[in-house]
């Protein structure tokens, strides 16, 4: 009788031990709030909902005790569900490259081909990436590799940030990805004050010459040319850029409509789901609740602001050497950060406030696309530095 009673107590103890509720601590509810904040921003304010919603739910989902989602699993070689998505999608660097394939299939490089000098604006807008690299080491004591992964946030290019962080500082993946996507969502809030501050009224009103028509042949040559040149100059980023240009070639060739359509819609949507939930799931309470994420968010904001300023100042500098009829409106410089096409739209909106006859959107798409290539080039520089 007594033995039976002991067995029942033992059984009850085991049942209780396997319940999450007895393993709770204060960190979990804090993470729930953070997850719910992302879900709220996505649903209520429409801030990058395609990413913030799955990221938010990923944060919420993994921050319950004993949930078998992000562990290595008990059986050998048997990982848990989200760990599988993370391992094969992010740790193997597949998802960022597939996203670039979809982005390539969505992108029209016409504005960049029509006005190739805007490529230089995309390079100038990487200023913040290098300044933040130094700042991260000096102000926050990050290691060189961590600093590089934090610096790239300013390029406002989510897949490149994930790709570089995974290579150099995988433990910062969740924080860096969230900082990059948060600032991309906040482009309309962060950029306009910097744009107003750095340009005169007269500069804001510059009307740019209409762009020439770009032939289909040029659009087909572009991905081939860019692939060859980037491969020769920064081979380290070819997994990203190669996919980007392949997606674009499928689009511009016009003969593989089904493939192009799949890359930009179905495939892109599928990988976005796995990307979002895996990134969110990396934000487990024990790793996230420390001063580092706050530092990354602070540095990311500084980075993004300096990159915006870098693009604007590059246009102003270039205008000194360009004939007056070909001058560029410095407001398009802010689009030199990636964040396609949000940053270009911001240039259009701010430009129209000062001159309702001014249509800067297509002009700003040039620096915007140059920013994607520039950020990848900067990432390639960091990868080759630490190889």
């Amino acid at each position: 009788m007594e033995t039976q009673a002991v067995d029942v107590i033992e059984m009850l103890r085991q049942i209780l031990d396997q319940m999450g509720i007895l393993n709770m601590n204060w960190k979990y509810p804090v993470m729930w709030l953070i997850g719910c904040l992302f879900i709220y921003l996505a649903i209520r304010h429409n801030f990058e909902p395609l990413l913030l919603l799955p990221i938010g739910f990923g944060i919420f989902l993994v921050n319950f005790p004993l949930t078998p989602l992000m562990g290595e699993g008990t059986k050998e070689g048997h990982r848990e569900l989200i760990q599988i998505f993370y391992h094969y999608g992010l740790a193997w660097e597949v998802i960022p490259c597939v996203i670039f394939l979809g982005l390539g299939a969505m992108t029209d490089f016409g504005s960049l081909i029509a006005n190739p000098k805007t490529l230089i604006v995309g390079a100038g807008a990487q200023l913040g990436v290098f300044i933040t690299f130094c700042g991260s080491i000096l102000l926050c004591g990050f290691t060189l590799k961590e600093a590089a992964s934090v610096g790239i946030i300013g390029g406002a290019d989510g897949p490149t940030t994930i790709y570089l962080t995974q290579k150099l500082a995988p433990h910062l993946l969740g924080m860096n990805a969230i900082a990059a996507y948060s600032y991309m969502a906040m482009v309309p809030l962060i950029q306009p004050p910097i744009m107003r501050l750095l340009t005169t009224r007269r500069e804001k009103q510059i009307i740019m010459r209409q762009m020439r028509q770009v032939s289909r042949t040029e659009k087909i040559i572009f991905p081939l040319l860019a692939t060859a040149l980037i491969s020769l100059l920064v081979p380290a980023v070819m997994p990203l850029m190669g996919m980007f240009m392949f997606g674009n070639l499928m689009r511009e060739s016009g003969v593989v409509q089904r493939l192009s359509d799949t890359a930009e819609n179905a495939l892109m949507n599928i990988v976005t789901i796995f990307l979002g939930i895996s990134v969110g799931a990396t934000m487990q309470a024990d790793k996230f609740l420390s001063p580092k994420p706050l530092m990354i968010f602070g540095l990311g904001l500084l980075d993004f602001a300096v990159c915006t300023a870098g693009g604007i100042l590059t246009v102003k500098l270039m205008n000194l050497f360009i004939k007056s009829e070909n001058r560029m409106n410095p407001l398009i410089g802010s689009a030199g950060v990636s964040a396609v096409p949000m940053a270009a739209r911001v240039s259009q909106v701010v430009g129209q406030k000062y001159n309702p006859q001014n249509f800067l959107l297509m002009h700003a798409m040039g620096p915007n696309l140059a920013g994607v290539i520039g950020t990848a080039a900067a990432a390639g520089m960091f990868i080759s530095m630490f190889k």
């Binding site: 130094c134 042949t217 572009f222 040149l229 980037i230």
Partner: protein, 52 residues
Amino acid sequence: MMGQENVIPWGNVIFVLLVRFAAVFVILGVLQIGLYASAAIVSKLLATVKRK
């Protein structure tokens, strides 16, 4: 947080960063020249085809 990098040679780091930043300009500059060249070649080819 600093890991094994206790003493950072700032002179070297800044020089390397400047060179790398300049390299980004070079990469995009080369692409720019490539675009101008390909535009010129394509327009000449199209003009030749039209004349024929």
